[in-house]
């Protein structure tokens, strides 16, 4: 008996029609075969084999039949199906794209040995002591209670010559054990040897696979050849495997003995430490040990904000960086949209089912079972979802591309089987989510004559629809309030005066390292001639130069400055500038003067500070004439001017103290020319590039771009996150209002007779509309209140999206809620207005 029960359960795998038609025969056949007395194992293998061979075929056949029927039904009113597909495609597409991005960023294994044991020691206090000598690092790693080994490295963008041309690439100076630590084998040649960490033996380099291909044509004889990094020769000993470019897209690696002058640096050296966890030490324990070590070394550092506080992160988390949290929040938001879309489509399909009730009831009366109707509607929903999923995959490709443009340096997600599987899985799941309710509802339809007169199925359906609408409103208010909050923050951020103008400003960068112009006098002559030629170009109003351009991603240097009397000042960013640089960026000089051509080595040493720096000197006027010197340099400089404080890192950042020194009294091998222009930018940039080539064709000119494009790059992420959330919010509101309209309009159409009676008894259309509004709005308002509570509870999540985003306030909720309530009210009134067209005499005649 038990085996027959099992077989009966297995028969449920067959689609409804076949099962209902032949279940009795199949069971009888089962009994008869068993009575023939075959061994149990053989018998069951045969039964299961038969099921495996026939269930899929029967399912496909019935699904095809059901779908043909559905297509005919939906073709009569294609809007519902098209709308459902569009809404779901958007949800599934964006979710799939974001899944691909997150998968690449967070969940996929990194191509290193045991990547989960590789950790990044973010903001290790006193990391400079590890750079005193190679042994300092190894001694520290050896006695560490949580690390097996550690590597220290720094990277900088430098000129590299060796192939046919000089290229500008990221060069990483590292302790010799970096590749061994990461478990990376060379594609060609060898890794660094431990003895290459000694002076005189560290003239070796490993190049990236990409550089090997592009600069050396994949020539295996590349080993032993010499490349020059900023003019210093290195011997190539290895080629890294394809795709390896850690850290920061490095193309060349060299072992370091921490001789900073050997390769002239253009930026600031920022040493980073990576380690491999000791065997048996779990990550949490290592994190606790690291924090204990960090707070022992520098307790003050622990009070810094999250970006500057010491933290032990897995390499994966470090690589994902600041994009991780926003991507997760956006993923949550898009799942919210998808859920709303599901609710909406369920609602729509339910309406369709109610419209089709008579058809379905007649089919039921003619013998179609509940299971059969349930199956048909479920197949319909799954098919809709799969079509939407297919469209969604196309959309996902766009999402992936946008994400890649926003996160340079991150590996770009590819549409692969994991993304496809996610899309198909999500489509099936959404199909089930929005399909089950209408299907379940249909399976409860009565087949009696009484039910055929309509009405009996309305009550539970109305409740389901109200609940679905309320759910959508709740989710919508969450997204809308989030969008309002982010939008408000973003607008406020963009309105802040950055202290410079970006419109109509062109920039070009040059690097003299490794060229014949590198040395003192020739260097100055180059800059002077270049600036003179740029200034006379047509369309150029004003031209200057600086070594650290605001908004660019050049590394900056913070240095200690002291007053002549020994008083220490806050750490300030130093920059080297040429005269009229401030004018070119429209940064006002608030006190004193700008640099002059005559501020050279022979003249008195001077400096210009910004307002933020001047504040610690007693204000702009009081700062003038004071003498400051950098802690590393004993030459005092007289402050001759104070300029307006500017946001070096762009909107959303804080102004920081800055000290500018004239180029004539300092040195810089890399400089960015800044041109304020009239008219079109492109021709000015082209002629400026030509002018620089005219000064010396061997000096590489790069980063030719407008300040506006720097600004766009800097604000791309917040703009994207804000734009996306606002769009999701509005789309959700659109879906929710549409759902509300459909619900009310359906309920009004169901109450035609009641409305007719009310009109006949003296009610006016206005009164009836008011009545419908009064009956419908409480659901909306209740859902709004519930949604607001959810937002305020979850609001903190949003502040993770942008550093600058504040928590969602009740004002944001009110704004979003009020807006939503208004359009909801309008939608209800529009749905109710058909009451005014009712003719009581016509409505009541059948009664």
């Amino acid at each position: 008996m038990r085996s027959e029960r099992l077989y009966r359960a297995l028969l449920r795998l067959y689609p409804a029609r076949f099962r209902e038609e032949y279940e009795r025969e199949l069971l009888r056949s089962f009994r008869e075969e068993r009575a023939e007395g075959a061994p149990a194992v053989k018998f069951w293998l045969r039964i299961l084999g038969d099921l495996a061979a026939t269930v899929p075929a029967r399912l496909m056949e019935e699904a095809a039949q059901d779908l043909r029927h559905s297509v005919r039904v939906h073709a009569r009113r294609p809007f519902v199906a098209l709308f459902a597909i569009a809404a779901l495609a958007l949800g599934i597409g964006v979710a799939t794209g974001l899944f691909g991005v997150l998968d690449t960023m967070l969940w996929r294994r990194l191509p290193y040995a045991e990547p989960d044991r590789l950790v990044f020691l973010h903001m290790l206090p006193g990391s400079m002591r590890l750079t005193e000598s190679p042994t300092a690092l190894h001694d520290w790693a050896r006695q560490s209670p949580y690390l097996k080994d550690a590597a220290i490295f720094a990277s900088d963008e430098l000129n590299v010559a060796g192939g046919p041309r000089t290229v500008r690439v990221n060069v990483c100076e590292t302790s010799a054990n970096l590749f061994a630590l990461m478990g990376t084998s060379m594609a060609w040649g060898r890794r660094f040897l431990p003895e290459e960490e000694t002076r005189g033996r560290n003239d070796t380099a490993v190049i990236s696979h990409a550089m090997w291909d592009q600069e050396f044509g994949g020539d295996p004889r590349v080993l032993g050849r010499t490349i020059r990094i900023s003019g210093t020769p290195f011997r190539i000993v290895g080629v890294a495997p394809a795709g390896f470019d850690y850290p920061a897209g490095s193309q060349v690696w060299t072992p370091t003995v921490f001789e900073f002058e050997r390769i002239p640096k253009e930026g600031v050296i920022f040493w980073q430490v990576m380690g491999r966890l000791k065997d048996g030490v779990p990550l949490e324990q290592a994190q606790a040990l690291y924090l204990a070590e960090a707070s022992r070394l520098n307790p003050r550092r622990m009070q810094e904000d999250e970006a500057n506080r010491p933290a032990l992160q897995t390499l994966k988390v470090q690589l994902a960086g600041a994009s991780r949290k926003p991507s997760l929040v956006l993923f949550g938001a898009v799942l919210c949209v998808l859920l709303i879309a599901c609710g909406n489509v369920a609602n729509l399909l339910l309406t369709r089912v109610l419209d089709r009730r008579r058809e379905l009831q007649i089919r039921a009366a003619l013998g179609a079972s509940r299971a059969r109707l349930f199956q048909q509607l479920l197949f319909e929903s799954l098919a809709l979802a799969l079509v939407a999923g297919a469209a969604g995959i196309l959309l996902a490709q766009g999402v992936v591309r946008i994400a890649a443009s926003l996160q340079p340096g991150q590996p770009e997600a590819q549409v692969d089987w994991r993304m496809l599987a996610f899309a198909v899985g999500l489509s099936l799941l959404t199909g089930l989510v929005f399909g089950v309710l209408p299907a379940w509802h249909v399976s409860r339809l009565q087949t009696s004559n009484e039910a055929l007169r309509a009405g009996s199925a309305r009550v539970p359906a109305a409740r389901i629809r109200t609940a679905l609408t309320a759910l959508q409103v709740v989710l919508t208010i969450v997204l809308l309030a989030g969008g309002v909050s982010l939008g408000r923050t973003f607008l406020a951020m963009m309105r802040v005066d950055a202290g410079y103008q970006t419109a109509g400003v062109a920039t070009l960068r040059v690097s003299l390292t490794g060229t014949s112009r590198e040395d003192g006098a020739r260097r100055m002559a180059y800059y002077r001639e270049a600036l003179d030629r740029l200034r006379v170009l047509p369309g150029v109003e004003s031209a200057g130069a600086v070594n650290r351009l605001p908004l660019s991603t050049q590394p900056i240097g913070m240095g200690r400055w002291v007053l002549d009397n020994g008083q220490k000042l806050d750490a300030a960013m130093s920059a080297v500038a040429m005269e009229r640089y401030f004018a070119a960026l429209s940064t006002p000089v608030v006190a004193g003067r700008d640099f002059r051509e005559t501020d050279n080595a022979a003249a008195e040493a001077i400096a210009v500070v910004n307002e933020t720096m001047a504040r610690s000197l007693g204000g702009p006027q009081a700062s003038l004439g004071q003498r400051i010197r950098s802690s590393g340099n004993s030459q005092p400089r007289r402050i001759v001017g104070v300029v307006k404080a500017s946001l070096h890192f762009g909107p959303g950042s804080e102004p920081m103290p800055q000290v500018f020194v004239p180029l004539g009294q300092s040195d810089a091998t890399t400089l960015t020319f800044v041109l304020k222009t009239r008219g079109k930018l492109a021709p000015v940039m082209a002629s400026a590039r030509a002018a620089l080539a005219g000064v010396d064709p061997n000096v590489p000119v790069f980063a030719v771009q407008s300040m506006d494009s720097y600004l766009a790059e800097r604000t791309a992420k917040p703009r994207m996150y804000t734009g996306t959330l606002v769009f999701f919010g509005l789309f959700a509101a659109f879906l929710a209002v549409l759902g509300l309209y459909a619900t009310v309009s359906y309920s009004v159409s169901q109450r035609t007779q009641e409305m007719g009676v009310r009109l006949a008894l003296g009610g006016t259309p206005g009164l009836l509309c008011g009545l419908i509004l009064r009956q419908s709005m409480p659901v909306v308002l209740g859902a709004l209140a519930a949604g607001t509570a959810v937002v305020l509870a979850l609001g903190r999540l949003l502040s993770a999206l942008l550093y600058q985003a504040k928590e969602v306030t009740w004002q944001d909720c009110s704004a979003a809620g009020l807006g939503l309530a208004l359009i909801a009210g309008l939608a209800i009134l529009m749905a109710a207005r058909r009451v005014s067209r009712l003719n009581p005499a016509l409505v009541l005649r059948p009664e």
Binding site: E25, D50, L51
Partner: protein, 121 residues
């Protein structure tokens, strides 16, 4: 499935082996499912022994295409008192079975001229 126009039997060719065997059995008269199954197994000496799912799946298709039809429900006098569904061949089914046999014969004749015929196994 009622069809207004007479169907061309060749459009069903080639018939799956199980479908052809079912038509062969029904050529002798009405049968119920289990009798069909036993007869096919016996006729092919066990080489074709369809499972219930395959058998009724094929029966369903033959019914849908109008090659067989149901001839009512009654007990099998040889087996037990349970009522069983009996099937019989339709005119279209007969025409299709004949067309399939002709197709096979043509194949057999062609094979015989090319490489002779072996002993039946």
């Amino acid at each position: 499935m009622p069809k207004s126009q007479p169907l061309d039997p060749t459009q069903f060719l080639p018939l799956p082996p199980l479908a052809f065997h079912i038509l062969l059995c029904l050529g002798d008269g009405e049968r119920h499912g289990y009798a069909l199954k036993r007869e096919i197994a016996k006729r092919t000496e066990g080489r074709l022994n369809p499972g219930a799912g395959s058998l009724y799946g094929t029966i369903q298709k033959l019914l849908e295409h109008g090659l067989i039809e149901e001839s009512g429900e009654r007990p099998d006098p040889h087996l037990d008192d349970e009522r069983r569904r009996y099937f019989r061949m339709s005119e279209l089914g007969l025409a299709v079975a004949q067309a399939e046999a002709a197709r096979m014969r043509a194949l057999v004749e062609l094979s015989a001229t090319r490489f002779g015929l072996g002993e039946p196994v």
